[in-house]
Amino acid sequence: MDTTIERRFARSLALSGGALSSYGREAVRLAAIAILPLVVASAGAQTARQILTENCASCHGAAQKLSGLDLTSREAMLHGGNRGPAVVPGEASKSLLIAAIERKGPLKMPPGQALAAAAVAALREWIDTGAPWEAAAAAAQPKWKSNAEDVWAFQPLRQPGKLRSVDAFIEAKLREKGLTAAPPADRRTLLRRATFDLTGLPPTPEEVEAFLKDQSGDAYEKMIDRLLASPRYGERWGRHWLDVVRYADSDGYSNDFERPNAWRYRDYVIHALNRDKPYDRFILEQLAGDELYPGNPEALIATGFLRMGPWEHTAMSVAAVTRQMFLDDVTHSTVTAFLGLTMGCARCHDHKFDPLPTRDYYRLQATFASTEYATHKLPFQSWENRTGFDRELARSQELLRLTRERMAALDDKIRQELAKKLGLEAAKLPADEVKEALRSKELLSHDDHARYNAYNKRRDIYQRAVERYQPLVYGVRDGAPVETHILTGGDLKAPAEEVSPGMLTAVRYQSEVPVEVGGRRAALARWIASPDHPLTARVMVNRIWQGHFGRGVVATSNNFGKMGKRPTHPELLDFLARAFIESGWSIKAMHRMIMRSDAYRRAATATDAEKLAKLDPENQYLSYFPPRRLSAEELRDAVLAVSGELSSDAGGPGTFPEVNEDLANQPRLIMGQFAPAYRPSPLRRERNRRSVYTFQQRTVRDPMLEVFNGPDLNESCERREASTVPTQVFALFNSKFARDSALAFAQRVENLASGRAKQVEQAYRLAMQRLPAQEELKLMLDYIARAEEHHRRVAPPPVKPRVPLVRSLVHEFSGKAFTLEEEPEPAAYEENTAPAQVPPATRALADALLLLFNANEFVYVF
């Protein structure tokens, strides 16, 4: 029935009914969001306000004011409407409002159903106690006195002082704190550190050898330049940005539908970083690429930023609410990503700690008021990867065809049933009866009816999969002008005063915003991307610093406000920000500056642990380099790289790695229907792409990424955590991914070297960038020998043939289960090598190499 409602909704908007094309669906979305913003569930004001808001304000609010009456502020109620004052404080019985809701006189409100007795009683009591309204009034009429002077981050950047290098600031602080710097790290450690840092991958044995051999004075600088020039750089640092903007390939919520063309934004980010696109330009393109650079392909793709949040509109949603959710989301995410401030609080009330009044929140929001979702046609660019498009498109089309075929078969069944019922030949059935039977589906069994609905949903899903390969852009456009009102308590039903677009008043540097629709975002983008803005450069250099040291100069990189952490080195932050601007906003220049410092090149060993425990337990002052656990993506990519399985393919629609089979086949509910089972990509090189290129589904995460603290895709992730939980052990020690990778790794080293000892040495060079110590080598060889003995005795499990998956779900018609068979995989599936396909010796070696993936040395960077 959900699908029916979606259709009905589409029809009610006078759009194409029946099978909605993807453009049709887009049109539904557009229509849904174009409706005037108004409502969001009440945030818990007093009962009276809540009752009035929910029952009265849609007609008697500041916007409608039917009969001249506005019930959204105390003042307006006392003033009343055409019939006189609505409320006489202290005297409920004399108040017109009460007379109307008690329905005793000629005026009976609200029309239709009367208010519940309890609600009437509550309003009576409220008036009798003087009709207090302070909390609401405060939000409606912001009386914010900006105290921007108190918040360091709103102050302009400091003028340059005596100190002129990263180390000068760091060492000054160490001296001040009485701390001693650790000695420089050894070369092997430095190479591993820098390579993971800039590319998210381990250095190869050849790279290790070359760097250790290079005796030139600038060997380190050359190494950094080599890494910065690698296409792998953008894949690693692009991921940092994708964390901040919550990149995902799906909508989230009920259906969690695919966003078929979102991947072009992901590739845009990676490409921009690889080309060292100036950061100010990067901002301008993402916020207003369509307004500022019409006709520029990258700028158009970049506006996908504005739509990165979770978003959904279904028949269960109120259109105005959905629209407001987008506006709140984009306001908040813009401020968080570029300015490092949290602004969600200001939606309902003036920010309690930062100089961000509610009025500013809605002024900023007004710059997006006319922004509409749009899908643009745009040819693929030379830097976009279209390898395998034909193959993958054919596969998605085949799934779509199979689904349509199944639906057609059920339609035939209906015709046959109808023929039976009417006692007519199938060819002679009256057309209108056939039409009605096909529509109502009442001649199908409950099970078949449920299956039909499931196929119907799958058709929508596979249509989106087909769309991945179309030259479309997931973007925005400027639509008709729309007014923005301050929403009392964030409540759409209580719009207050209208506001015009504007910037944050706490920032001294201001700029003009045009009232015309077509340049509001451009003005906002220019204001943010200005060297005069106190936050923009600081926030970005802080993110870069955090990428290198694991923690920013400001530890809360998404919160530069009063409740965020204070900078540990405020002058350094400003020095970096100035250098950043002077370099032409070059992110790569910042990497060079930071990575060339002594601070970055120190050993990861504390020189005096006891002293540090007292003076700097968190290593805020960087007397030694902070070691870190690999991020989820680095860990998966490193396992693949070392085992020789990592694909060098870059870009294009997200691919699907193998995940735990139980999870892949886990039935998953989407709007009363089965989601299709998770389908891994048939080709190994597709499955084993870098993690940044894997499909990011909001409600189903790859457990390998999830358990190692992969980012939540609904909220901006300012910094990765690295907690240690037992499920990580299961993922890295037991999973098919880890076991298959170990087997591939074993085959790789068997090809590279002969003899067990040489093979183990080779494995250590690949995984740890060093040779094993004697003790380690002996441990490994002993273990391999024992394992081999075991494997000679015990046969591995046979390879399981792939069989069509049949699953069941309780459906809403009968409350009973029905079964559904998955569409068979249209493409030939390229299996990973299975234990049964290799000799016992290889299986034994794989057992040992699995331990290397699990070793602390592999998982941590020092």
Binding site: M1, V321, A609, P617, V700, S723, L779, N854, N856
Partner: protein, 467 residues
């Protein structure tokens, strides 16, 4: 540092241990404490009424009107038509509609005379152990957003689930098991794993899903062909390699913590299968839950597993029982769902009572919303069914600290909205925390520039529900 931000020691510990990579952590703290795990039991804020909670989540939105809140008035209005037009109505709620009476009979159950639908025959026997509540209201009529609100206090998702908060507040009494366990249907609910997320809390507090088939925890069971002995042998070598590595970095506390996590995982792998093995229960207990009967078997297994988990020290167990989204054909669909949960859920109450665990266990029964007294005209026909309704919903509580044998709150005469003892979801959350010995205002975590809490902006305990 705690004076600077007001963070209490525990939060500080988590934050350092989870990311700041402090070499000197072990010098600052006793190593034992750093290793003991963030899940060790913690004292409550006030004396707890219950030590553990079993949350029975009736996914899909069960109808209050057809379960525990009969509305005779609807018999008079039955099939009368009206039209709803509102800018604030969803497509589902708009257009031509008609009222629908309940197809079911009701009985007065127990000494308290609680209203219970005829298809909850077994549950009726437990009426005097239950506090029925009719005053709860949500904010959303979309399944995932309503589920997020019920589970996490935030309709947009992304915040920690109630179970995560409670695990954070109280730890677990058995460190070999997770503190917060989720027993889903064979399918995941709408909105997926966000429903049991740890949100911004450390990952230890995430709900651990026990899967109904295959390995109970993802990849917990070693792959086929790998014996526990072989695995132990590998683990021993790994720990020796890790030991050699650790000697080069003696001050870095994360390394021993990670070494210990392998031992914990190994213990969990050994202990978990026994804990959830319901075959260890007697036939009479299995019969009590309805195990082996086709209608009830699936929910019964999860309910019994929930009891076994609580018995073994798990703090918060969530049992999903779906299929309640009866837009059409409510007579058949709701009847089947009621029968599917009736015996398992009442069996759980009776079993907990029998074992003396009911006093220390809070049982909550709720869906993400209730259903409407009316239905939309779909396909031109009038079918007995109900749409979503966030302003009235069925909910009940049993066990530790609950005002048993009582019905609190009321809805209006057609069941459209709650009108007495009306409370938002955050108050329901505050009440659950209160019964478990936690103070909503004190159970906070500093994140994103402020101290966050389950109730978002603070909730109040619903006194009508508490004994």
């Amino acid at each position: 540092m705690s004076s600077e931000t007001g963070l209490h020691r525990r939060a500080f510990l988590y934050q350092t241990a989870s990311g700041l990579g402090s070499v000197a952590l072990s010098a600052l703290l006793h190593r034992a404490e750093a290793r003991a795990g963030v899940l060790s039991p913690k004292p409550p804020h006030h004396p707890a009424k219950a030590k553990a909670c079993i949350f029975l989540l009736m996914e899909g939105g069960p109808s209050h009107i057809d379960t525990f809140d009969p509305k005779p008035k609807l018999a008079q209005l039955h099939m009368t038509e009206f039209t709803r037009k509102s800018k604030f109505a969803s497509a589902m709620e708009s257009g031509k509609r008609y009222f629908v009476q309940s197809p079911f009979g009701f009985r007065k159950a127990g000494q308290s005379g609680a209203d219970v639908c005829e298809h909850f025959a077994h549950l009726a026997e437990c009426a005097d152990d239950i506090c029925f509540y009719r005053g709860a209201v949500g904010e959303n009529t979309n399944h995932p957003t309503a589920l997020y609100l019920l589970n996490t206090g935030n309709a947009f998702g992304g915040d920690p689930a109630a179970g995560a908060w409670i695990a954070y507040g109280l730890g677990t009494e058995n460190e070999n098991l997770p503190a917060f366990v989720v027993l889903p249907e064979s399918h995941y609910p709408q909105g997926g794993a966000t429903n049991w997320s740890n949100g911004f809390l450390p990952a230890h507090y995430q709900g651990t899903v026990l899967r109904p088939s295959g390995s109970p925890i993802l990849d917990m069971t070693p792959p086929p062909g790998v014996t526990p002995e072989a695995q132990r042998a590998g683990l021993d070598v790994l720990q020796k390699l890790n030991g050699m590595h650790q000697r080069q970095h003696p001050e870095f506390a994360e390394l021993p913590a990670r070494i210990e996590s392998y031992e914990l995982a190994f213990r969990m792998q050994a202990e978990m299968p026994g804990v959830i093995d319901i075959h260890r229960e007697s036939e009479s207990v299995k019969h009590l839950y309805g195990i082996g009967e086709p209608e009830t078997d699936a929910v019964a297994r999860r309910c019994l597993m929930a009891r076994r988990l609580v018995q073994h020290g798990v703090r918060f167990v969530q049992v999903y029982a779906g299929g309640w989204d009866s837009h059409d054909y409510i007579e058949e669909a709701h009847r089947n769902r009621m029968r599917a949960v009736d015996k398992p859920v009442s069996g759980l109450i009776k079993d907990l009572k029998r074992m003396g665990l009911l006093d220390s266990t809070l049982v909550v029964w709720a869906g993400e919303f209730g259903r409407s007294p009316d239905n939309g005209v779909r396909r031109g026909s009038k079918v007995w069914g109900r749409d979503h309704n966030a302003t009235a919903m069925p909910m009940w509580f049993a066990g530790g600290g609950v005002r048993a044998g009582h019905t609190a709150g009321a809805t209006d005469e057609i069941g459209q909205k709650a009108v007495e003892a009306v409370h938002p979801m955050r108050d329901v959350h505050a009440t659950i925390l209160y019964l478990l010995g936690l103070d909503d205002a004190k159970l906070t975590y500093f994140h994103g520039g402020r101290f966050k809490q389950l109730t978002q902006i603070g909730g109040q305990v619903i006194r009508e529900l508490v004994s």
